[in-house]
């Protein structure tokens, strides 16, 4: 059972109060109709899915009912930080840098 610190409530609460909303910092394209199928599919479905440090979005459904971001290690499950939507993470993994360098289509910046 994870204990997750909700930055809105400023409390450590049990995992079951939260639901997971996937990879964080995915910016919705400003003009979806201007994208190619490749770019749109990339935005909708393709993910980093790292083994290690991951920036992700969580929803405190049985609590303040607000979204926030977390930096979590997907192997050890350690939560390194939680932070507000709009803020930047303090911890950034090497894989993020590596994958961003390979990325074919820009998808907003971290």
């Amino acid at each position: 059972m994870l204990l997750i610190h909700c930055p809105h409530c400023r409390e450590d609460r049990e995992e079951e109060e939260f639901s997971y909303s996937g990879e964080a910092h995915i910016v919705r394209p400003v003009e979806p109709e201007a994208l190619s199928d490749k770019e749109w599919g990339d935005y909708l479905f393709f993910r980093k899915n790292p083994r290690g440090i991951h920036h992700e979005m969580w929803y405190h459904g049985i609590g303040c009912r607000r979204y926030f971001y977390a930096t979590r290690n997907t192997l050890s499950y350690e939560i390194l930080e939680t932070y507000m939507v709009g803020e930047k993470p303090q911890v950034i993994a090497a894989i993020d840098v590596a994958i961003d360098a390979h990325r074919d289509t820009p998808r907003g910046t971290l």
Binding site: Y20, D37, R47, I95
Partner: protein, 416 residues
């Protein structure tokens, strides 16, 4: 390879079973192969076997970081069925089921395939509508199946609770008599033995750490035992597919999550079929050894830790106890978590990639075991011909850009 038979059993008994041939060799990797398969689980070994057997490509290595069949192949609930809704998925899984039906003879290795039937329960009106639709779709595809009443379910699995006085009463089920279970380890071992006998090198305890490319073409893999050259690299790494893809600078529409299974202490025979329920989320069968084999759900978030959340098990066991009140006193013995690669449409990816000579077979999510033979068969064909097998065409990576998804969440997404 010496054939297993009653005669060989008798012959080896005379020397106290001390002179059996080793089931496979443990060769040193060669400098260069035609095809390298990354991942020595069931699907990878099946791919190697069919590459050698059907396509005559025997200069093949399977590279496995642990031991053969030691990952999800060794820790799943062994359920086999093909009652999928959409034509593309139904045909792929039914090819698999047909291969299962002759697999022990084909491999000369007893995979203990038991066609004990699979029940998928419905607990509300919408479940029943979906079940009728799915069974009709199956029958149009030539796949056996029928919609059965609670009374018939009670005949098939007498311990089940069909009372209307419970939170989620059973209203009916789909019944696929050709479905069943098999011995998971035996499948990996059988394919490994078969592939080895045809000349495939099975290289264990060697981790692939990089995929070397030259001008967009694969030239080999970096491993913990040095560089190994290859004209084609086929990745079959389940939960770690995203990690392997990143080695080639690719991303996949895949998210990895732990899926749990658990077994009870052995009890006398009491359940001779497979019972699954999507709505309350539990699935259960009894192994030949007597343990109740229970499948739980995936964790709610991405994870590579081969363990799962306790509340997921709790939820599943609540469902099992409601379906089978008699099992409430059974003690659970062991629990595993395996990392599964889930896709947005709950269907696999069997595909070429933008890197020439690099292929992926992944995204089987929570239900890859049943597909082991078919997956290997169509993937071997795809790799050998550098062109998708007709049954694999719809499972191309491209579908996530064209939008031609095969939405199997109804038949596959939850319970497998």
């Amino acid at each position: 390879m010496k054939k297993y038979s009653g005669f060989s059993l008798l012959k080896n008994a005379l020397s106290y079973h001390e002179n059996w041939q080793k089931i496979w060799r443990s060769p040193k990797p060669k400098a260069d192969y035609d095809v390298i398969i990354v991942g020595g689980g069931g699907h990878g070994l099946a791919t190697a076997y069919y590459l050698a057997k059907v396509h005559g490509i025997t200069n093949v290595a399977v590279i496995e970081k642990g031991y053969l069949g030691g990952g999800n192949t060794a820790r799943n609930t062994t359920i086999i069925r093909s009652n999928y809704l959409w034509d593309e998925a139904a045909q792929l899984y039914d090819l698999s089921l047909k291969l299962w039906e002759g697999l022990s003879q084909e491999l000369n290795y007893n995979v203990m395939f038991s066609q004990r039937g699979v029940l998928n329960l419905g607990h509300n009106l919408q479940d029943m509508r979906d079940i009728e639709r799915r069974v009709n779709a199956n029958r149009l595809n030539g796949i056996d199946g029928e919609v059965v009443t609670p009374e018939r379910i009670k005949e098939i699995a007498p311990l089940i609770n069909i009372s209307r006085d419970c939170r989620y009463p059973i209203l009916g089920a789909s019944w696929q008599p050709r479905g069943g279970t098999a011995r998971h380890d035996a499948v990996a071992w059988g394919y490994a033995r078969g592939a080895d006998a045809l000349g495939v090198d099975l290289i264990q305890e060697t981790e692939v750490t990089g995929i070397r490319r030259k001008n967009g073409v694969v030239v080999g893999v970096e491993t913990t035992k040095g560089f190994i050259g290859a004209r084609k690299v086929a990745c079959v790494t389940a939960g770690n597919s995203g990690v392997v893809a990143a080695m080639a600078g690719l991303r996949l529409p895949v998210e990895s999550r732990p899926l749990q299974a658990l077994v009870s202490e052995p009890v006398k025979p009491c359940l001779d079929t497979v019972v699954m329920s999507n709505a309350v989320h539990g699935y259960i069968s009894q192994s030949d050894k007597g343990d109740l084999v229970v499948g739980a759900g995936v964790d709610g978030y991405n994870g590579y830790g081969q363990r799962g959340s306790m509340h997921v098990i709790e939820h599943t066991l609540q469902a099992i106890c409601e379906l089978f009140p008699a099992f409430s006193r059974v003690r659970m013995n062991r629990q595993w978590g395996g990392v599964v690669d889930t896709t947005p449409d709950a269907c696999p990816i069997i595909s070429k990639t933008s890197v020439q000579g690099l292929y992926f077979n992944c995204g089987w999510g929570t239900g890859g075991f049943k597909a082991t033979p078919g997956s290997g068969y169509v993937f071997a064909d795809t790799v050998a011909n550098d062109h998708p097998h007709p049954l694999a065409e719809a499972f191309d990576l491209e579908r996530f850009n064209t939008g031609a998804l095969i939405d199997e969440h109804g038949a596959a997404g939850v319970a497998h």
